[in-house]
Amino acid sequence: MNSKTADRIATGVFITIAIIIISILVGLFYYILVNGLKHVSLDFLTSPSSNVRAGGGIRDQLFNSFYILLLTMLIAVPLGIGGGIYMAEYAKPGKVTDIIRSCIEVLASLPSIVIGMFGLLMFVNLTGWGYTILGGALALTVFNLPVIVRVSEDAIRSVPRDLKEASLALGITRWHTIKTVILPSAFPSILTGAILASGRVFGEAAALLFTAGLSTPRLDYANWNPFSDTSPLNIFRPAETLAVHIWSVNTQGLIPDVEEVSNGAAAVLVLSVLIFNLLARWIGSMIHKKITATK
């Protein structure tokens, strides 16, 4: 076989591989959306789920997913940005920095079920809270923190040096420079990264099984008092998220319409992630345009 033919064959193989990957995605999305969207209706989205009878919706699960995501981000983003600033600006090369970097690496590679088990020990048993939204959010923070740290470290490092040096040359202290010069210009990349990470948090289930639980108490959406037991805003109540719901109806559920509910829930889940993705791109490109236009 001469080398030209081999070359052509190889090119063909690579193109086939690319086509396989694309068709996997198209197939998955087609399946999820075609099978799922026909079960998604306003009623499905706004009625509570049922444990035994057919025809339940996903209202509470949907709310729980977003609420846990919000709480997670409220905790993880400041912590992560702090960590990122430390790594990019304060850390001196040496043992301590190495250790922190290893820690980030370890946290990033931990299986989510291990984080869930840690959450069970720490936020459920040790604190005595039981299954709570807060416990779930904290477990997800552990899961999400390394991503945010990495994103913000990269973003801060990619801020042009002259910006920072100009500020320092003006006699402005380091923290002040970070706060007023570096963070604002790193902000777009951090935001994009955080939104992309949200998608991952939104679909996470294993870490929540043992921390936020498999059930949702009766919720009264008119009750906005975060300390009341029936209030959806209460952070000390158990909460089943959308992803956990899909798992639990398929593996432990009693309802007869498992397929309909999980198809619908899967479509909602994937669409939400898709929206996060598009949002991140859109914000990223918009801010990019704004910045480049002003220069």
Partner: protein
């Protein structure tokens, strides 16, 4: 009166509340003929407070539905029913983090639980039996054959007069209550051979239906259509009546455990669970058998005797 004192100690609310709580408990017991119709005047009957229930995922829908109705009658009461598994429920009630722990097995059967400190409230009965793929062609099985099938000594249905089809076992996880009950009363304690292991009754039913030669076990409530065939054991049909009379051996209690005697709201709620209202309607809806109708009873060791 003793009871009332006990209540008083634990309560931070007013003495009035305490009295009404005690009266409420007494009333529903006296009227076991099923009349909760006496209008609940707010002053004498109103209960309030909150209750956390945890445990068996299979029981969660039942208890949650009962809690729903209880809360509708007592609007100031809030009851949370969490799922998480029987083990979780027992652990949590034993350490006092929830007031009621649901379990589908006796606490004595679970290791690491101070069973003597927990008080058992048997709230429902569930009957279960082996189920096979309809194409197998068997409706009745001798117990000894059933044991042989599940321990892997019989591997083809034709040995039992069915179709020439390899037997496929569908199991439950080691720690599952359903598995424990089935092993104990249908297999006489034999350890089943390996097979696909699924936790959900729906999935088990689906697999049995889709797989030729499959056998598993399900609660009676899942035999609603012909997609799987329930087996009679030793000629005894798996019916509610046969379970109630003690003829059909494979059944289990659904337990609600409290740490020490049930007090206050927990007692109210458990009494409510035992009321005819719940036992005769809600339980039936969800495929359980009322515990009040049982003609036999069973202790933690599995000894059965007539009532």
């Amino acid at each position: 009166m003793k009871n009332m004192k006990k209540f008083g100690l634990g309560m931070t609310l007013s003495a009035l509340m305490v009295i009404t709580a005690a009266c409420g408990g007494g009333a529903s017991k006296d009227n076991s003929a099923g009349t909760d119709k006496t209008p609940k005047t707010a002053e004498t009957k109103e209960l309030s407070g909150s209750l956390v229930v945890s445990g068996s995922s299979a029981m969660q829908p039942l208890v949650a539905a009962a809690a729903e109705e209880f809360m509708a009658e007592n609007p100031k009461v809030d009851i949370q029913v969490n799922a998480g598994g029987s083990g979780t429920g027992l652990s949590q009630v034993a350490e006092g983090s929830v007031q009621i722990g649901n379990s589908d097995v006796f606490a004595e059967e679970k290791e690491g639980i101070p069973a003597d400190k927990l008080v058992d409230h048997k709230v429902a009965v569930v009957g279960m039996t082996a189920a096979v793929n309809p194409k197998v062609g068997i409706k009745d099985i001798k117990k000894e054959d059933l044991i042989k099938v599940f321990t892997g000594k019989i591997t083809n249905w034709k040995e039992l007069g069915g179709k020439d089809q390899k037997i496929v076992l569908v199991n439950r996880p080691d720690s599952s209550g359903t598995r424990a009950v089935f092993n104990k009363f249908a297999l006489d304690g034999a350890t089943p051979a390996e097979g696909i292991t699924e936790d959900s009754s729906n999935t088990v039913k689906k697999i049995i239906n889709e797989t030729d030669g499959a056998i598993g076990y399900l609660a009676f409530s899942y035999f609603t259509d012909d997609s799987v065939t329930p087996l009679s054991i030793d000629g005894v049909e798996p019916t509610d009546e046969n379970v109630q009379s003690g003829k059909f051996p494979v059944w289990a209690y659904q337990h609600s455990y409290t740490k020490g005697e049930a007090t206050d709201l927990a007692k109210e709620f458990l009494d409510y669970m035992m009321s005819d209202d719940i036992q005769n309607t809600l339980l039936k809806d969800q495929g359980y058998l009322p515990v009040t109708k049982m003609k036999v009873e069973r202790d933690a060791k599995g000894n059965q005797k007539d009532i």
